[in-house]
């Protein structure tokens, strides 16, 4: 029953996304008939709709992993320095190398660099917090690192005209230019990190009972944490490299599915990923549909949508 609902919802969202163009909505089957429109549908709208979903799916997954790993409902890629690390490295890449072009190789290169930046950001956070033993210290360190790296990025943008120009759309997220090669990269990363995270779902469940209990259950905590941090960095890097800095999706998506009674990570990871994807897809379509032919920055919409939904949920829950 639930799966049928999900499928219907997916179809509705896809149709909505594929039909939303620069002049407003037009049924995709009507657009299919005209060859010019068909090209637009296949080359522009389809990949960006799918790409937006995949970006959100990666961010939602990263958020669920972060919240499970650090046992804190406020943990998310932005709060642990991974997103700001990726952003800084990309700003550096643009200021040093100029525009990178949009081809697959360039995107791959940027993704790898972003991964290095994301890992660097998390490592910096872990160093500052002297290990992940204390959650509060870790999150404080993450906030500091995020803010400092963000400030460095802004400073770099002032120094380098190339970085400034390239980062304009980046800072608030941009799904407008996602093509099939971006989708391939995002899809590959999702297919890599989701099974990896699922294989760690027992560990994430155990962590809910505390780190000592987890160790007493025979989990090599250092290694497990390393794997989870790598998953977090990989999902963040891929999403940031393709679509810029989209805050909030990683934070909100796991909370939105919490209400569905998905306590087990085996379900939670999937659900948060799907919810993140849906949130991002809806934000992308709304970004195109509110003021055509103009587009709002997608990060603004994810914040508004996610924030409002979260407020509604909080209002309804007794605790």
């Amino acid at each position: 029953m639930l799966s049928a609902l999900v499928v219907v919802l997916a179809l509705v969202l896809c149709t909505w996304g594929l039909g939303m163009g620069a002049d407003g909505w037009q049924a995709p089957w009507q657009a299919w008939v005209d060859p010019g429109q068909r090209a637009i549908l296949l080359d522009i709208r389809a990949p960006r709709t799918l790409g937006a979903f995949l970006v959100g799916a990666l961010l939602g997954l990263g958020g669920a992993v972060a919240q499970g790993l650090f046992r804190n409902p406020l943990a998310e890629p932005h709060l642990l320095g991974s997103a700001s690390g990726a952003g800084l490295i990309m700003a550096l890449a643009w200021s040093v190398g100029g525009a990178w072009g949009g081809g697959l190789l360039a995107r791959l290169g940027l993704t790898v660099l972003a991964f290095v930046g994301a890992v660097g950001g998390v490592v910096l956070t872990l160093l500052l917090a002297r290990g992940a033993a204390h959650t509060l210290r870790l999150l404080l360190a993450g906030v500091v690192v995020g803010v400092v790296l963000g400030a460095l990025t802004q400073w770099l943008m002032l120094w380098s005209a190339e970085a400034w120009r390239a980062m304009q759309a980046f800072m608030l997220g941009n799904t407008a230019l996602l093509g099939w090669d971006a989708c391939a990269l995002l899809g590959a990363m999702w297919l890599l990190t989701l099974p990896l995270a699922l294989a760690m779902s027992r560990v994430l469940d155990a962590l809910a009972l505390g780190e000592d209990t987890t160790r007493s259950l025979g989990v090599p905590l250092g290694l497990a944490r390393g794997v989870l941090v790598a998953v977090l960095a990989a999902t963040t890097a891929a999403a940031v490299a393709q679509a810029g800095l989209v805050a909030f999706v990683g934070l909100v998506a796991p909370h939105l599915v919490r209400g569905w009674g998905a306590g087990r990570h085996r379900v939670r990871l999937w659900a948060a990923s799907a919810m993140g994807g849906a949130l991002m897809l809806v934000s992308d379509v709304l970004a195109r549909s509110l003021l055509p032919p103009q587009e709002l920055p997608v990060g603004v919409l994810t914040a508004v949508l996610g924030g409002v939904y979260l407020l509604v949920l909080l209002h309804r829950r007794p605790t």
């Binding site: 699922l198 294989a199 760690m200 779902s201 027992r202 560990v203 469940d205 155990a206 809910a208 009972l209 505390g210 000592d212 209990t213 160790r215 007493s216 259950l217 025979g218 989990v219 090599p220 290694l223 497990a224 919490r258 009674g261 998905a262 306590g263 087990r264 085996r266 605790t319």
Partner: protein
């Protein structure tokens, strides 16, 4: 004399600069329930953590079935140790959306391995059922931790420990939040486990419950004052001493109990 499962020799544990456990010699035997008692701050929880291998020994050692426990074991032995020794700590998570069933299932993690797609074998399911039955939680198995009372949560964590089917059980204050009927249930469960051949070590606050155990270890300020059978007068005097004579151990209707003196 049955086999020694867990043994501490000259064990000292330090937290920061303070020594919280000093030169403790202790042996937990198969088929025995050992209760550790003492006033607040005596180092009972620290001792239990060291026995579980969670905290390193500053000096002396802890041996599980003859094997020395080192703080940084290889992955293989970590899993082996987790199958042989189950530990339950104090102050456990209550905010979680995990259901009782899932919490108890986590007790099977040492047998399933920490990596891989989560699924339950027949053995796992049987162990979980048994644990839920022993702790009277079958009716509550689908409720989440958040929706339970303190006592019910405590029993869920206890069931988790039982599900591991380990041969050594280390429990820190398992009777916290439990009402009298459930304390009786706890005593029955621990005694049954001991009869099945486990070595049960529990830190207990309630003296009547401790006096129901087979042996008692009395701690004060990090050292072991006395250790012997639950009926031994020397042990009783030691208990009265560490609690500053605020209790008296008396025989009532054929069983030892603690009488408060205030």
């Amino acid at each position: 004399m049955s086999a020694v499962m867990l043994q501490a020799r000259g064990l000292s544990v330090a937290r920061g600069t303070a020594t919280v456990v000093r030169d403790v010699h202790l042996a937990a035997r198969a088929g025995e329930w050992l209760a550790i008692v003492g006033p607040n701050g005596a180092g009972k929880s620290s001792l239990l953590r060291a026995l579980a291998g969670l905290w390193p020994a500053a000096s002396g050692d802890v041996r599980l079935c003859g094997e020395r426990m080192s703080p940084g074991p290889s992955r293989g032995s970590l899993g082996l140790r987790a199958r042989q020794l189950a530990w339950m700590g104090q102050g456990l998570a209550s905010e979680e959306a995990l259901s009782v069933d899932e919490v108890v299932a986590l007790g099977r993690l040492p047998h399933q391995g920490w990596w891989g797609w989560p699924s339950r074998s027949a053995n796992d399911r049987a162990a979980i059922e048994q644990a839920l039955q022993d702790t009277d939680l079958l009716a509550l198995r689908q409720r989440t931790l958040q929706a339970l009372s303190g006592g019910e949560r405590q029993r869920a964590h206890l069931a988790r420990v039982l599900a591991t089917q380990a041969s050594v059980l280390l429990l820190d204050e398992p009777s916290a939040h439990l009402d009298a009927p459930h304390q009786r249930l706890l005593a029955q469960v621990l005694r049954t486990q001991a009869q099945r051949g486990c070595a049960v070590v529990s830190v207990v606050h309630e003296l009547p419950l401790a006096l129901a155990a087979d042996r008692i270890a009395v701690m004060q300020s990090g050292t072991l004052l006395a250790c012997g059978d639950a009926g031994e007068p020397a042990v009783h005097r030691a208990i009265e001493t560490v609690f500053a004579q605020a209790v008296r151990i008396v025989l009532v209707e054929g069983r030892w109990t603690a009488l408060p003196c205030y």
